[in-house]
Amino acid sequence: MTTTKSSILSFFWLILLTLLSVYVGEVLENRSISIFVVMFIVFLKGQQIIDIFMELKHAPSRWRFLLMSYVIIIPVAITAIYLF
């Protein structure tokens, strides 16, 4: 797949995930599940930006890991703070 096609797909995926997170925040009455789902969406969106827009998918693995860890640690920490 060309990089341009990846970027276009990624863009629509990001918009869809954004709308989904707003919908989940509005509709789900269980706050714990809502926070968990919304933070998981943050991870999915972060992964798209890092791999596709920043083009780190084929970068040295340490750098990719470093950036990816940010979109894992922060949502996990936020979820943990709210849920425990």
Partner: protein, 205 residues
Amino acid sequence: MSETTVDNNITPTSVNSSAKHSENRLPGDIAMWFFILAELSVFAIFFIGFAVAEQLNPEMFSQGKAQLHPTAGLINTIALITSSFIVALALQIMHKGQGRNAAKALIIAQLVAVVYLVVKLWEYQFLFDADIDIETNTFFTLYFLITFFHFMHVLLGMVILTFIAIKSAKGQYQQNDMSGFESGACYWHMVDLLWIILFPLIYVI
């Protein structure tokens, strides 16, 4: 003129070497990546601080969030994602040696980012009109601190995009050396990355 020079450099050999070059390579300048990591760390403290403060003052934060406009936050999210997407396309255009087209794409990306600036300023004005400011309570102190800090990063990102757009239009980036362009683009994507955490934290959950 300079654009033609860049186009002439695209031979099968240079395309192959460019493809090899892009494999297992960190885009942009390493100094920019350390700067990005530093910025992400500062915002990480803000995000964690906000979540902890909300747990300590759940009622105040719930009331505070109710006074915000989720639609404004959603518009800003879509604006920043779209702008980031256009910058990603601009880099791909630049890889094809089309500096002027890349510059045009960067200008469009900035125009989309202006939507974010206008909506954010409208939101601030709306709150000020309701006698809400940074001293109202802990929620609004953190709200203004975090969102205005991010706002300043968007402005800095736009200055950087303007700079690389001018250099692109002048044909000052070469096929084998567009580190400056990539660094600017990655900074802009970082601004987007921060907002996709900030938006659900402040507006959604």
